[in-house]
Symmetry: C2
Subunit: 448 residues, 2 copies
Amino acid sequence: MAIITPKPMSGFPELLPEQQRVFNRCIDIIRRNFELSGFTPIETPSVERKEVLTSKGADEKEIYALARLFAGEGESPDTEFALHFDLTVPLARYVALHKEKLVFPFRRYQIQKVWRGERPQKGRYRELYQCDIDAIGRGSLGLLNDAEMPAVIHRIFTEMGIGDFVIRINNRRLLQGFYHWLGVSADHIADTLRTVDKLEKIGRDKVVAELVARVQLDEAIAGQILDFVADDRPVDALLTHLASLPAMSDALFAQGVDELRTVAAGVRSLGVPDSDFTIDLRIARGLGYYTGTVYETKLLAHPELGSICSGGRYDDLASYFTNEKLPGVGISIGLSRIAIALIEAGVLKTDAQTPSRVLVTVLDPSHMSDYLRIASSLRTAGVACEVYFEKGRVGDQLKYADRKRIHFAIIAGEDEFAAGRLKLKNMRTGEESTGSLDEIVNLTTSDR
Amino acid sequence: MAIITPKPMSGFPELLPEQQRVFNRCIDIIRRNFELSGFTPIETPSVERKEVLTSKGADEKEIYALARLFAGEGESPDTEFALHFDLTVPLARYVALHKEKLVFPFRRYQIQKVWRGERPQKGRYRELYQCDIDAIGRGSLGLLNDAEMPAVIHRIFTEMGIGDFVIRINNRRLLQGFYHWLGVSADHIADTLRTVDKLEKIGRDKVVAELVARVQLDEAIAGQILDFVADDRPVDALLTHLASLPAMSDALFAQGVDELRTVAAGVRSLGVPDSDFTIDLRIARGLGYYTGTVYETKLLAHPELGSICSGGRYDDLASYFTNEKLPGVGISIGLSRIAIALIEAGVLKTDAQTPSRVLVTVLDPSHMSDYLRIASSLRTAGVACEVYFEKGRVGDQLKYADRKRIHFAIIAGEDEFAAGRLKLKNMRTGEESTGSLDEIVNLTTSDR
């Protein structure tokens, strides 16, 4: 028989067990914190109808459609489905479809894979996890919801232990109002926003050049814009400064400043320290979709990752699927990219290749029922364990425990069973204890 | 703008939030118990190369391939990938690819979606969750691993509370040995196994007819086979009876009886009561893949679901991908089918539409920072909560809590903040308490 030699699939990440356990721990932290803030889980199918996915005119080249691998003679392989490329379009379709059965504001989270037909390159995946939360209102949605997003994110990244990070908050109304006040014509405001948003990528000179050459702003105005967004005063000083500007005569600018103040105060009351969030006038998020608050998150030791968590406020979630106005605010963690990079960098540390905390060794197979009962007792007490069922001397069995980095080994033979005293070996310290089954079970739960 | 009216996608199940929470609870129970038994999580990409998926000659019509939705002019939409239809082929490919980095026996679990291009019908899904565990040896694998599978499954279904179930265990060597001893020729044994396996679906008469007409067995031998497999004595009585049969002269039969005895004793030592497992000589699992122990699981009140959890022992996991012999044993829960059916039947009960245990109502928006601090304290104490950020009198806010079935509401205005005493309302009993923030947080954690 011909062997098909398996090889990795470029762009489709796959982890070894010890890495997968770290990745799953990240997902657990994200889930727990999403739920702590009252976001409820939903899951949409991996596919949507093609017309749903392309309703917005997304970059169509990036979508994977489903085709029947072996369509019959004369049958088309085409199906009506394609894999979703984000979780926002599926959310919009979900809410539009089920809105009569949901209670609004609807706070949902979704942790799922998305697929993108990208040309694979370092850090770009064709299959990746996204972890999204959104709060959706029916008709309206209170501004303070915007303060919840950074607060949840802050709890998550703190608990994940990925190092210092800063959540950067801005408001698109404020930017739009400022550009309007400067005399940028309504037609050019969106383009100005998009161009200034590239500042960190391409630098001030190139942004000014683009604003002048392509967007056709005065060089003086382009300069004023760049000076304005570069202001990096601390939160309160910046808010005071903004409120003192002549641009406050612009109603949109004034509204933006006011929203930003409310959101910043809320973020602080929700426990995010000033060291971990900032108002950053440079960020605008390229997407026209966002209308008010916008977020990005920078991991200080890993700027090459770009924003590890982004989002914002939007006026209308599902305009392609319903006439009902559904405003919302949301944020998204691109988990695969972050977690895999930080596992590779050693920031997220891998540990054992197994969840087993205890290996029950087998010295005397005639006592197998005893070994199995020990395992069953450990499990009932919530201690993960396995029994060594293979042939091998106790030395080989302990070597197995070592290789899998199992914390404890239980060792018992004829004598131990006769005395009702089992031996417990701590594989990390080499320390040995003896005790009854109950005592041993206790030791494995209490000793860290 | 034209609205695309969203509609459900047949064969792609989608749950409402209160159902999703029950579904996720099932997954949590499965994960926790898999890990308690020392199975480590892995996750493979949703796709494999087409030649990997078709290596076994699977029913090719059921596979969804990935195609680029918008390939450029003159470009083929084809890709080299297709969605996996089970988790066994991906496991085989994973182990073959990574075997030098794994420690054997390798005990892994995998909880992922699989896709099948089926014509949709009631209870048949195109996208569904499978939850698999397998123990894989390198060269050999101890028989007692076969006893772990029913033990894990027993813990899971007991904790899920799906009602009475019976795990049915058999051994294919025993059946093959018996048929050989009866004189069924080697060529016809596999076909005999497959045909007898249909017994519960099509009944005794049709099986006998098929065995005679198609498999060309003597009618007397067909009758003996059907009598043999119908023997439903209790475990120990059946094992004693089998060991007394003249067929024990057949080495394969004797080995099968011996294996079955060892596995049954192990299952019992691992804590599975006699009421919940049985030896059932009728089951053989259709797949030629299995070589020894086989399992099926019957949910007594829902026979229409068929086997809710099946698996068995195999000699060689990855013969298509490596020359190295990798024997294993595994079992799989088809979760989507079971959970969705049992949610619809009301066996798995839905509860709140949100994880929030507490709603922090807002009486006086000038105290917003206090409300946010209350929420933050609750979350830090592990209590899921949300703040009501929308406009609305307290009555509307409590109605919102009711509709989402949130257990508690915290109510505080000017007077309460001045006195440092918050009000807590139990939304289920109507009972009200007052206390400091710490006392209130405590009440929400302790009161069930």
